[in-house]
Amino acid sequence: MAFWSAIILPFLLCALVSVGFFITKSQNLLQTPPMFLWIEYSAVILAPMGSLILPMLVVFVAYSVNSIEHKADTWKTLFSLPISKLSVYAAKYLYAFFLIFLCLALFVLFTVGFGNLLGTVRPQLQFGQYSMAGLLAKLYFKLFLSSLGILSIQFLLSLLFRDFLKPMGIGFICVITGIILAGNSWHYAYLFPYSHPMITIKTLTDGNHHSISTPAGLPVIEVVLFTKEVFVSLVVSVIVFISGYFIVLKKSVK
C-alpha cells in the first residue's frame, strides 16, 4: 500500500495541478516568459508538498512499512530467523527511505512531464522554451534530505507502537507544530525536524536564495543544498537511527 501511494500521490497531484492550470490560469499566463511560467507552475505543487503533504507522507510511509509486520504478527518470526537484528531493522528502514526517495523522484518526473505536456497541448504557453528539470531535481533532493529527520523519528515510533493512533497522532501533531513554527519564522525552528521541509520551501519564496542577474536580465535561481536545517535533519536522522537500533536490540518481542 505504501508502495502504490508513493507512486500514485505524485501522479495525481501533478495531474490535478496541470488540469487546474490549464483551465484557470492559462489565459492570464500567455504573456509570461517561460521561466516564470515554470516557476509559477511548480510552485503550485511545491507549496503544499513542503508544508503538509511531504511530512504526512513520511509519517504514513514509516507507519505502513512497520504496521505490515504488526498486523501479520510477524515481528517475532522475523527476529527468530537466523538474521541479525541489524539487518532486519536496516532493511525495513531502507525500504521506507527508498519509498520516500521514489516518491520525490516521481514528483520531479511528473512535474517536468506534465509541464511539457501542457506546453504541447497549448503551444501558446511557452513551457518548451525553458528547462527546469535540473533545478527541480536539486530542490526535491533537498526536500528529501530535509525529511530524513522526520523519517527516522516516525520509523522508530511506528516500530515501537503497534497501534495506529500513537505514531500517526504524534506525527500529525508534530507536523502541525512544525508548520506553525516554520510559518512564524521562529528563530530556532531549524532545530525541529518536522519544520525542515517547510523551511526548505520557505527559503525559496522568501527570496533567500542567491539571485544573480545574468546579462539577459533573467534571475538565476540557485538552491543551496546544505543549509543548517538540512544539516540538523541529517544529524537527527543518523542519531535516531542508531539509537533505534539499540532500542530494538534491547527490546523483548512480545
Binding site: 501479520a72 517475532k76 518470526t77 527468530s80 530467523l81 537466523p82 518481542v253
Partner: protein, 299 residues
C-alpha cells in the same frame, strides 16, 4: 541434549512467570511441554528463541550458549509461536517464497513444503482466505522450510479439527522417526501429547513439576480395579470392613488399587458371595488426564 536450561527464570514486572526451569530435551525426541493456560509455556519458548531476554539462568541449544551463538543456533531451529505469522495479503505460496528469499533457500523447496502440508491446491489462494487449519499448516510449512534440526511448536494443534490434529501428529512423528529431527511441542492437552511424545515436561505456575520419558510418567500411575456394582457405597463399606483399601467410590463404580489377577478374582467372589451383584470388573490404568490434574493442582 538438544535443549538444556539451567535455573531459567523470567519475571514480567514483579510477577515470576518462569521459575528456575531445568529443561532436558534429548536428541531425536518429541518433547511434550505440558501445562494449563498461563503456566509459562509460551514464555519459555520465547526465551528459547531469544525473543525474550534471559534474566537469570542459562540456555544451551545444541550444547552451545544461546546469547553468544544466536544466529548459528537460530539457523537450525524452525518455530511456530502462538498463531502462525502469515502475511494475509499474500498467497500461501508467496508467503513461503518470501521466507525462502529471506533465508536464501532454493525456491524448489517451497513446492516440497506445500506438498508436505497438503496446501498444493490452495497454494495460489490469498492466505487471508485460509481456514484456521490451513493457516496452521502453512505455519508449520514455514517452520520446516529451512529444514531445521529442531522444531519449536507452540500449541500447533490449536483450532484444528480432529483430522487436522491427526495429520499434524503423524507429520511430527514422521519427522522424528524418518528425518531425525527433534520436536519440542507445547500443549495444554495431555491426551494429545500422550499420543506422540517420547518425553514429557509438566509445568504449572512457571515451575517444572515433572520431567521424564512417557514411560516414567506412566509408571507414576498406579493401576486400579474398577468394579461396577448396584449399591457402590454399601459394597465399599463392606470391603473396608474386610480390610480392603478402597481408592475411590462414585455412584456407579468403585476403585481398588490393583495388585494382581488373583486379587481381582477374589474380590469378585467375595462381593458376589455376600449379595453384591458385580456387573463388571476390570483392570484400569488410571487416566493420565487425572494424573496430570493431580500433578498440576497439588503444586
Amino acid at each position: 541434549m538438544v535443549i538444556s536450561t539451567e535455573g531459567l527464570t523470567f519475571n514480567f514486572g514483579s510477577q515470576t512467570v518462569v521459575k528456575s526451569l531445568n529443561l532436558r530435551v534429548p536428541e531425536g525426541s518429541i518433547y511434550g511441554f505440558l501445562g494449563p493456560n498461563g503456566a509459562g509455556k509460551t514464555t519459555t519458548i520465547k526465551l528459547l528463541m531469544n525473543l525474550l531476554k534471559t534474566q537469570h539462568g542459562s540456555i544451551h541449544i545444541f550444547e552451545k550458549e544461546l546469547q553468544s551463538n544466536r544466529i548459528e543456533i537460530l539457523s537450525q531451529i524452525g518455530s511456530l509461536i502462538e498463531q502462525p505469522a502469515i502475511y494475509l495479503h499474500l498467497t500461501g505460496k508467496e508467503n513461503l517464497l518470501n521466507r525462502a528469499l529471506l533465508l536464501e533457500i532454493p525456491a524448489k523447496r517451497v513446492d516440497e513444503m506445500l506438498d508436505l502440508v497438503h496446501l498444493k491446491d490452495a497454494a495460489n489462494k490469498k492466505a487471508g482466505q485460509y481456514s484456521l487449519g490451513m493457516k496452521q499448516r502453512l505455519g508449520i510449512g514455514l517452520a520446516l522450510l529451512s529444514d531445521p534440526k529442531l522444531l519449536l511448536l507452540d500449541e500447533p494443534t490449536n483450532g484444528l479439527d480432529p483430522n487436522g490434529i491427526i495429520e499434524v501428529r503423524e507429520l511430527l512423528i514422521k519427522l522424528v522417526t524418518k528425518h531425525q529431527k527433534t520436536v519440542f511441542v507445547s500443549s495444554h492437552l495431555l491426551a494429545e501429547v500422550e499420543r506422540m511424545a517420547t518425553h514429557v515436561g509438566i509445568i504449572n505456575h512457571g515451575e517444572l513439576l515433572f520431567q521424564g520419558s512417557i514411560e516414567e510418567l506412566q509408571a507414576l500411575n498406579q493401576p486400579l480395579v474398577q468394579i461396577e456394582v448396584e449399591s457402590t457405597v454399601d459394597a465399599a463399606n463392606f470391603l473396608k470392613r474386610n480390610n480392603i483399601e478402597v481408592a475411590e467410590v462414585n455412584d456407579h463404580q468403585l476403585f481398588i488399587p490393583y495388585a494382581d489377577k488373583k486379587q481381582m478374582g477374589e474380590l469378585n467372589a467375595l462381593l458376589n458371595k455376600n449379595g453384591f451383584t458385580v456387573y463388571s470388573i476390570n483392570k484400569q490404568q488410571k487416566d493420565l488426564e487425572k494424573l496430570f490434574l493431580a500433578i498440576t493442582q497439588n503444586a
